[in-house]
Symmetry: C2
């Protein structure tokens, strides 16, 4: 017996326990000092996934070069808010076309709030007089449905966009591409959460008839508002820009109003718009989404890159797209958020996760930037600063880098984790954490709460297998 | 020799060192484990101060009751921004009166930038055609000088207010009192930093002729904007509201513009005002000061209370007032801030500390709330989050309590330290830390930088002796 082995018999054991916590718990009960380290086998020990990871490991150098390129495109985009125009004009959206959030999905598989928003939008456009007639148009194929993401757009929650709705236009000046999103309607009974009564359509008409044109004229006069510095600033002010957009909304309102006031002619219109913006702390969310899409799109199509370029949900499926596999979607059933509910609602009223807003997490904000936004951490476990920092630390484990422009003051200006890597998600089993609103699952209800949700791992596993085969 | 004493000879020494760090340093050099605890004798061992503290200790109960009352008045104020009107109207300020920052001071003892601001203001009012004639008016006693604090007002830096200047009106709805501050002019060459050329006076004329009346009309239409929730929100958004007012300024702009747009008639006036507000990240500072004064004034005049109700500087003296001693000032020579300078300026250009803006620290924000504002901590030592938290921790040692409304997200919603206690300042030797702008010491220069400064301990020592004698 060696000396060091002998020594073990003469000292108290000091134990490091890996994996299942049950061993550590037993030792603790026996008063044996133990340090427990969480450990899981890579890819949960799944042989197919391990083989795929191994195959990608053999191309490590080429993948890392591709990822560096894709990440650089993602984080160095320069989104500028340049205009607000009807979707038919800005997107060239043809008549009788309805865009929706998430990956492609057929009408019969859509969840109730998405169907409600679509028939509401058809009534708003005047293509049908009532919901039944609207549904019939879809069933007869006389209205085309398509994902926002296929039309240079990102739509929150149901994500519905029709040709006459005004959309913000964001230009990525580093790459020349554009992305679009509707004007945020506010909270509660709104189309994006599946409400579709007359009050909802009246607001949409005001947005199209007065607010949109005024915003557009003001933005064109301004020469464009740079969004990246504004978003970086808002991240220093407690916004993670998915659940919380208060700072970004107030900064945008402040930057926008001089231009709007300059072009405003119709008596009262400027005041009404200013009031609408002042009353909506999430006003900026849609703009963050258009900025996110404008920044993420150029990162797509880099051969061999394992960087995630899209995460989107349609209330039925969660879908991701990956740089190296281009336009292809990898989907899995979507989960339901855990959260806090408005008075009168509970988890039973919650629709599964929905919306293109996870583009915010795709570019390095939202759930992964929680350390910048301790107020939002109340949706997580114990809440507070430690939980917020833990969420960001965890996200760093599945990201390719840290954002050079989006930095977190509470972490001494360390960059937010950016560039989700399919390989790291599958290897660690850490699914991206997404901050989100919660829609009522019954048509017409609207928003019922807000919370957090995980992306389903299966999307990433499917993408990994495809990448390994390619 | 006892067993425990004997044991000391057989184990390695473990040392706790109190007081001067030199002992700990020696032990560290000898590789002896040592924990150093900073410790200073109370009141630096000064027998007169120790006797005064002892005398107050004998009245402990009555003082604590008084302090609880004064602190409750301080922290539960409800400041509402209700109007903007010329000082002659809002304050009843008589003709040929000039208000200035800090404790009372005669013309010959004033620093250069304060004198420059005063002669500039006299030219602006048209009481004299040039600086010499303006100075002559003062020397002949034909212009009256008085502290803002004696006129229900608080003035930043030189703090100059003359009758035609518009002032914001803040009403404390919990107590019925009002307080006032001018409209923040922006950065650089501005009257409050001692610049007084034609560009400075032209801006003052625009503020009085167009911006002030428009702000006033908008605020009167609004029915008043509640400032306490707005300030609490801004504290959650990285503002400590002295050095940094970005969130509060943007939130205020957002809340204000609908009302301003509603009343705006003159073509372009709304746009000019919106642009002016959007261009000034410190726009809210003056409003925070008026709110601070509105909250602090009712805390004054509580017999036996040792709570500080005013901290103000005139560039020559630092003055404090204490609840239990009412209107009496306790002054000492003011210190010069340490800070960061605008390009082309250095510490040699800095004027000693100036302005009534330390009212922000008096109500529990500014330097003591640094943990809410890590970005501002770059003015302190190494900067960053740890330094920011340390500044707040230190301030807690000299405060009577924690603010029930102003809470810090990074400290898991713990209240900002509030209610500076003269006894605690003297006992610990910790002088309040103040975040501040830095004026050029030569007339006409304007702002040269920003930084931090300590209140001089001597003010607190004098106040303590007076409290002990009373």
């Amino acid at each position: 017996m060696s000396d060091s082995a002998r020594a073990l018999l003469h000292t108290r054991p000091r134990v490091v326990s890996l994996g299942l916590p049950i061993f550590a718990q037993d030792l603790t009960r026996l008063a044996v000092p133990v340090v427990h380290a969480e450990w899981r086998p890579p890819a949960a020990g799944d042989p197919r996934l391990l083989a795929a990871l191994e195959r990608l490991e053999q191309r490590r150098e080429i993948i890392e070069r591709a990822n560096a390129e894709a990440l650089a495109r993602l984080v160095h985009g320069e989104p500028v808010l340049v205009d607000c125009r009807p979707a038919w004009e800005a997107l060239g959206l043809p008549p009788r076309t309805v865009l929706h959030a998430g990956p492609p999905i057929e009408w019969p598989r859509m969840c109730e709030p998405m169907r409600a928003a679509i028939v509401g939008a058809i009534r708003y456009e005047g293509w049908a007089a009532n919901d039944d007639a609207a549904a019939a148009l879809i069933e007869r194929g006389e209205v085309t449905l398509a994902p926002c993401h296929h039309w240079q757009a990102a739509g929150p929650m149901t994500g519905v966009i029709t040709p006459s709705m005004p959309v913000f236009v964001v230009e990525n000046r580093a790459h020349g591409n554009r992305a679009h999103a509707t004007i945020n309607e506010g909270l509660g009974k709104v189309l994006r959460f599946g409400a579709n009564d007359e009050s909802v359509l009246a607001r949409l008409r005001w947005l199209a008839g007065e607010a949109g044109p005024l915003l557009g004229a003001g933005l064109r006069t301004s020469g464009g508002l740079e969004l990246r510095p504004l978003m970086a600033q808002a991240l220093h002010m407690g916004d993670e820009m998915h659940q919380r957009n208060l700072a970004a909304s107030a900064l945008l309102a402040r930057a926008l109003m001089p231009h709007v006031a300059r072009v405003g002619q119709k008596h009262g219109a400027v005041a009404r718009l200013a009031e609408f913006i002042a009353g909506n702390d999430q006003f900026f969310l849609n703009i963050a989404m258009a900025a996110g899409k404008a920044m993420a799109d150029p990162a797509g199509g880099v051969a061999h890159s394992t960087l995630v370029t899209t995460m989107a949900r349609n209330g039925t499926d969660f879908g991701i797209r990956v740089s190296g596999t281009g336009e292809r979607w990898f989907t899995a059933p979507v989960l339901t958020p855990v959260g806090l509910y408005f008075p009168g609602f509970s988890a039973e009223d919650a629709n599964p996760d929905m919306g293109d807003s996870a583009i915010v997490e795709t570019i390095g904000l939202g759930g992964g930037a929680m350390a910048a936004s301790p107020a939002v951490a109340r949706f997580l476990g114990a809440g507070g600063m430690a939980e917020a920092v833990a969420a960001t630390d965890e996200t760093r484990e599945i990201c390719l880098g840290e954002h050079p422009h989006f930095r977190i003051a509470t972490l001494d200006e360390r960059g937010a984790p950016a560039g989700i890597d399919v390989r790291l998600v599958v290897e660690t089993g850490i699914a991206p954490l997404i901050n989100t609103g919660i829609a009522g699952r019954r048509a017409g209800t609207g928003q019922v709460g807000a919370g957090v949700v995980r992306a389903p791992l299966a999307c990433f596993e499917r993408a990994l297998l495809a990448l390994a085969e390619s």
